[in-house]
């Protein structure tokens, strides 16, 4: 049981470092195990240091920085132990355009092997779609969905 966790931790820690470098160029992200007596229960510490900044408390990170570091962590879990699919609902809402572009690199690390359903309001995310689903509702009506296959020639 401990080995299962240790193996997963090692893989996820490695992917977190990789992901962090992808979305925070020049920055450093690490996972560490807490100091603790009980190896079966020591917590996992997530560290996030954007480029040029000093390691500080996670709480001091900005809204967008915190979202992006969280996504680097989640996608590390996804890469290390993939499920067949994931559904993500507006996870990039706090990101500015530059960070949104970097987040889409994380999406790229998964898309070959894992099916993704991504709900979004962001134009850049829409451009990453293989298939786009438009949801609408007339006042007083039922929700409807229209889908459209995007090809690399569609912009």
């Amino acid at each position: 049981m401990v080995d299962l966790f240790e193996d997963a931790f090692t893989d996820i820690a490695r992917y977190y470092e990789e992901n962090f470098a992808l979305v925070f160029p020049g920055g450093t992200g690490r996972l560490r195990l807490e100091e603790g007596a009980d190896p079966l229960a020591t917590g996992v510490l997530v560290e996030a240091q954007p480029a040029g900044k000093r390691v500080g408390r996670l709480s001091l990170l900005s809204g967008g920085e915190r979202s992006l570091a969280a996504l680097a962590f989640l996608f590390a879990v996804f890469r290390a132990r993939p499920s067949p699919f994931y559904v993500l609902d507006e996870v990039e809402a706090a990101l500015d355009d530059a960070n949104l572009h970097r987040f889409l690199r994380l999406v790229h690390t998964l898309r070959e092997s894992v099916q993704l359903v991504i709900i979004t309001h962001q134009q850049q995310t829409m451009e990453a779609a293989d298939v786009l689903y438009g949801v609408t509702m007339e006042p007083g009506g039922s929700s409807q969905v229209i889908s459209k296959r995007m090809t690399s020639t569609t912009v």
């Binding site: 699919f85 559904v87 993500l88 995310t125 438009g134 509702m137 009506g141 929700s143």
Partner: protein, 165 residues
């Protein structure tokens, strides 16, 4: 065990029977505020067996049944069917596709089906568990949840990793 199609009928804002056919790659869902995008995620969570009303934004389970609008009457039941590709034979059934269905009537009665045959909720949950998507916790990332990830305590981060392991 990728998603193939999702059919909603009387589920939340999806009064009319609505079907989504998924691609194996990147599916992006867009639309105005309040159009029903997050309801699609709720439908997936619900048909996969979630009982947590809070994660469905409801207070009673009955809230998921289409409640009517100013111009349309309420419906008597909510139904969601989700079809998976049994591509990795993760699930020891000799079938190319697996469909799970969940139905809830206003009187509180529930029905569950596996490939059209009545079954118990537990059967659906076991099946998904075998397929590696039993614990939905990080298969479905809800609106607003990302902001909380780093606020979690070290024990919670450990739990995320243990669950995925």
């Amino acid at each position: 065990m990728k998603l193939k199609h999702l059919t909603l009928r009387g589920f939340k804002s999806f009064a009319d029977r609505t079907r989504l056919d998924f691609t194996s790659g990147v599916n992006v869902v867009v639309g105005p505020n309040g159009s029903g995008k997050s309801n699609i995620l709720d439908a997936i969570a619900w048909v996969m067996g979630t009982q947590a009303t809070k994660s469905l934004r409801t207070e009673k389970m009955e809230d998921v049944v289409f409640a009517g609008t100013e111009t349309r009457p309420p419906l008597p039941r909510a139904e969601v069917a989700l079809t998976f590709v049994n591509d990795e034979q993760l699930i020891p059934l000799d079938l190319a596709e697996i469909t799970i269905t969940r139905r809830l009537f206003r009187d509180g009665t529930s029905e569950y089906e596996l490939n059209g045959a009545p079954c118990r909720l537990l059967d659906i949950q076991d099946l998904l568990s075998d397929g590696g998507i039993g614990r939905q916790q990080h298969v479905l990332v809800g609106q607003g949840q990302v902001g909380d990830v780093l606020n979690a305590r070290p024990e919670d981060h450990r739990a995320v990793i243990e669950e995925a392991a």
